[in-house]
Amino acid sequence: MASQDHIMIEEAFAQKRMSRALLSRLISYIRPYKRIFYLNLLFTLLATISQLLGPKFIQIGIDRYLSDFTNAELAMRGILIVSAIYMANLFLGWFLSVAQVKSAMRVGQSAMNDMRLAVFEHIQRLSLSFFDQTHQGRIISRADTDIDSLDRILTWGANQMIASAFTFIGVVILMLQYDWRLCLAVSVVIPPLAIATHLFQKHAMVAYRKIREQASRITAALAENIQGVRIVQAFGREEVNLSRFEEINDVYADRALVASRIVHTYLPFVFLVSGVATAIILGYGSSLVINGSITVGELAAFILYLSMFFGPIQTMGDLYNSMLSTAASAERIFQLLDTKPQVIDRPAAKPLPRIAGTVEFDHVHFRYDTTPENTWILNDISFRAEPGQTIALVGETGSGKTSIVSLIARFYEPQQGRILIDGQDIFSTTVDSLRNQIGIVTQENFLFTGTVMENLKYGRATATDEEIISAAKTLGTHEIILRLQDGYETKITERGSNLSAGERQLLTFTRAMAANPRILILDEATSAVDPHTELVIQNALEKLFERRTSFVIAHRLSTVRHAHQIIVLSHGRIVERGTHEQLLASGGTYARLHQEFTRQS
């Protein structure tokens, strides 16, 4: 099981060439915002033009009015007009850049959020078998980091590509228009710059990847030490741990230095290249001025345009890199979206009417997707539970108890045999209508962040506060809830970590009770609780089992003893069944298990 950090690192650096299919699928998310998208491109184009014009105004001002003027009066007016137009152009540029940013963000963010929702919706539809096979961290990063990493391309991709291409072409055209020889002379710096940029990006990526890896090691080391601080202190490990941490830190510093060397080789090199180009303009350009091929203003404009030359090359290289990692993310997202859910309503499925609660297994065989071909997790299981009965499932870990209850809720579908509810094959019914009538309490006692009340209403959103409170009173959990910090309004922190195990258990009982299901499935947790809470739990269980068919994976002796039917499982088969007394009398597996039970408690 890999941790979230590791998955994130491993995936953050995955790269892929952007295939046409992938790109067109990405573009399909932009399509709904086509109009804003095209507008954005238009704004970008105009903004780029406006920027390119800046040095041109300076050149015109210098050449027409500042270097050779005959009439000072006219020159004064001329320079005022040029400056005024220049300023108007700046104002226009400001307006365009506002429009450009807003429209780009609107398109990119909307597309990303659509995708986010699509992923989330799809995750809801996937079956549990998918969640069994896929690490949680991976699924989360699909809906989270993977989509975030599309930001750059979806928001700025087209934008930056057009802006840099246009700037580059524009600068070249303007320079050519002044003098093609000087333009050619300056262009000699482009090949070394392009090569350096390429090399830099290749090496910098590797260097940064190593830094991030080490950064995550630092985080992991810190996290572990914090989470295990009680053990650290109990075993007196402070010195040893500190020296290990210092080593990790030193490696980080070394790697940061390597990256810094790469960056500070490249950036000074870019400066050098632009310096050389300026020197060429200064040297060769001045002789062109002397022989009258260009003007002084054009010479200055050349130098000004030169500074616009380098940005696009760097942006393009950067964009190419983002493309690669975006493609990898996009592919993972689409893979998830293409995963077919296994449990889906059959075409002719009908909603299940309110049921009485008969559950029948008819020669059911079942294995998980991950189980080897030749073994069954459940082997030829048949039983019948009458409405209102409590069925206790007993057996060693791995005997198939959890699989049986998962099949009742149709989290999975059996490979052979039928499962009937009130005589109806569950395949002929809709999944939702079945699950709405089933209440499940698992050992993990999972609660959502939010108030206690919100959690209790989870199974029945339409319930009023009074109904919830009366359910809690029936169960005997009302007092315990009132004793929490803010009673029913107590905020539950992530995964209920601010509650004790017993409290969490009682809340999930109440949640199930409030939903008032016809069939109850309960995986009893046996976390140690104090005697008082234990008492409340046992009373609550009795109430829960009343008037509904209940399946219990039993750990408590009292539960087993009071069950109408006890099913003893071993290696996926039913080995014994009957009531407590019957099974004790027969002196088989159950009798042996029972002995251990009594010894424990």
């Binding site: 400001w94 989330f120 109990a234 210092e246 200064l282 959502f448």
Partner: protein
């Protein structure tokens, strides 16, 4: 309803003391004064060269015009050579300065990180109780990364911006005071505006960030709780919940973007008009003959140099703001007073006696207080602590290893007050098995040898055998070298517990503290654990927080706690005879 809305507003706004804390962190830089001086010197040289380059270009243009007008000598090669030389020097400095600064900042940050790490592992449990591990992790990672940004920025960006701005304006002033006034008139409002917008924007971006976090939380919970979602057939409701979060996020995001994209360009626009203004006003001076055209070109190039830095002002404001809040949180850990000071006496020899003399412990209201607890624990005996949740059982046992300090009375180990005993020695004499077993991401062997890293493999195996863990460990793919914990394979609750028992075994503690809670394990495992614990507690003074009567019955003494007070004490038989609280719960349990 209003209450919940308020809670969303609690974004981490920088506190007032933040900026002072930030300045305090600069002290860490002071450990390397030589390197700081080198960095600053190189930076200043670089700025000087940068300021010289426009002079060369401008002078060349002036000279060129004179050459054309009245045939003045135009030493073309001299200009080119001078220009190239300066460029080369600057390139070299850039190449040296970057890594030098990097090394300096990284060293400083290592110092900070190491101090945090050490502080955290030495802080008393009171600190860890009130601060969640997530909070601590984010302080020691995110907050430190923000400080790293700040160190990089403060070391160059602040100096660079200030010096370059002043120098440029001065240089423009020498050329033409009027143009310098124009520059000052636009640069100052631009800088102020950019700083102002950055400050305004920061809480907005933080809110966007928080909303993004909320969206992620929904996803995470949805996936972690997928069984509950499916069990209640709540898929559609979950999608609606997510859609709501998404809409709020998108809205807030777009509002922030609108603010950002309209305001920040305004500031840039104000600075941008400097160029046309200079072209106009400077142009007039040129026409009048008060200013050389070459000098006007110099001013234009200087303005470009400032322009490159204007964008950095907003960025710098952000970094300082972020780092201020972070610095405060980081310093809080490093300078926390809740660190326990170790005593100086060695742990006296003995069989393991503990005496509580009218011990009381008062902490915050969430933690159970203890009042006036007195008892004596004899060497080698087993003491069971019984009582409802929140009675103070675990607080009491934690006082023995001095994970907290008692606030009243005293605790004697082998007749010596524990505050006088060397803390490491004291703690090494107390073995603890907590309710939730924490294993580190390391091999099983390393986990068992956690308290004694130099233990031999034979020792480790011996202890694993005693803890009934050898059998299952041998069946793992890599045996004792199998990696467990966060990044390794997952052990079952029962297996983890046995590894923890082996870990305690190897330390061979004089005192043993057990939280007798078994996770849901099948009866065979349960049996194995019970045997292992019996083995481990033999010959050690043992304190068990008991949940089951089967455990309690075997104890030499039972201490019954209620609401922080020791209400009954005696053997099982004695307490039953007495007919108090203990016998009451016992009867209750029996009748189930």
């Amino acid at each position: 309803m209003a209450k919940t809305a308020d809670k969303h507003e609690t974004t981490e706004a920088p506190k007032k003391g933040g900026f002072r804390s930030l300045l305090l962190t600069l002290k860490f830089l002071g450990r390397y004064p030589g390197r700081v001086a080198v960095c600053i010197t190189l930076l200043l040289i670089n700025i000087a060269i940068e300021m010289t380059l426009p002079q060369i270009i401008g002078n060349a243009i002036t000279n060129l015009r004179w050459h054309m007008e009245w045939g003045a000598e135009f030493p073309r090669l001299k200009y080119v050579a001078l220009f190239l030389t300066l460029v080369l020097i600057r390139t070299t400095i850039g190449h040296v300065l970057g890594p030098t600064r990097n090394r300096l900042v990284q060293r400083t940050l290592n110092d900070i990180r190491n101090s945090i790490y050490d502080a955290m592992q030495r802080l008393s449990f009171s600190f860890h109780d009130k601060t969640s591990s997530g909070e601590l992790i984010s302080r020691s990672t995110t907050d430190v990364w923000r400080l790293q940004e700040f160190f990089f920025a403060s070391l160059l960006m602040a100096i660079d911006i200030t010096v370059a701005l002043i120098a440029t304006i001065a240089l423009i002033g020498i050329i033409s005071p009027r143009l310098a006034v124009v520059t000052v008139a636009t640069v100052i409002p631009t800088a102020l505006l950019l700083g102002y917008y950055a400050r305004k924007l920061q809480p907005q971006w933080r809110k966007v960030h928080d909303l993004h976090g909320e969206m992620t939380t929904v996803v995470q919970e949805n996936i972690a709780g997928v069984r509950v979602v499916k069990a209640f057939a709540k898929e559609n409701a979950e999608v609606q919940k997510f859609t709501r979060k998404r809409d709020v996020y998108l809205d807030t995001m777009m509002r922030t973007v609108t603010y950002w994209s309209t305001r920040v360009p305004v500031a840039q626009f104000i600075f941008g008009i400097t160029l046309p203004l200079v072209l106009w006003l400077g142009g007039r001076e040129v026409i009048r003959g008060d200013l050389l055209l070459g000098d006007l070109v110099k001013v234009i190039f200087y303005l470009l140099a400032i322009g490159n830095r204007m964008g950095a002002i907003g960025q710098f404001t952000n970094i300082v703001q972020n780092a201020s809040a972070s610095a405060e949180r980081v310093l809080e850990i490093i300078q926390d007073p809740e660190r326990l000071s170790s005593g100086h006496k060695p742990l006296p020899a003995g069989g393991g006696s503990v005496v509580f003399e009218t011990v009381s412990f008062e902490y915050r209201k969430e933690k159970t207080a203890l009042h006036d607890i007195s008892f004596r624990a004899e060497p080698g005996k087993t003491y069971a602590l019984v009582g409802p949740t929140g009675a103070g059982k675990s607080t009491l046992v934690h006082l023995i290893g001095r994970y907290y300090d008692a606030t009243g009375g005293r605790i004697l180990v082998e007749g010596v007050d524990i505050r006088e005993i060397d803390l490491d020695q004291l703690r090494c004499s107390v073995g603890v098995i907590f309710q939730e077993t924490f294993l580190f991401s390391a091999s099983i062997a390393e986990n068992i040898a956690y308290g004694k890293p130099d233990a031999t493999r034979a020792d480790i195996e011996r202890c694993a055998k005693a803890a009934q863990a050898h059998e299952f460990i041998s069946e793992l793919p890599d045996g004792y070298d199998t990696i467990v914990g966060e990044r390794g394979i997952t052990l079952s609750g029962g297996q983890k517990q046995r590894v923890a028992i082996a870990r305690a075994f190897l330390m061979n503690p004089r005192f043993l503290i057990l939280d007798d809670a078994t996770a849901s394990v099948d009866s065979k495992t349960e049996h194995a654990i019970q045997n292992a614990i019996r083995e481990l507690s033999a010959g050690r003074t043992t304190f068990i927080i008991a949940h089951r009567f089967s455990t309690v019955q075997h104890a030499d003494q039972i201490l019954v706690l209620r609401e922080g007070r020791l209400v009954e004490q005696g053997t099982h038989a004695e307490l039953l005879r007495r007919g108090g609280y203990y016998s009451e719960i016992f009867e209750h349990q029996l009748h189930r």
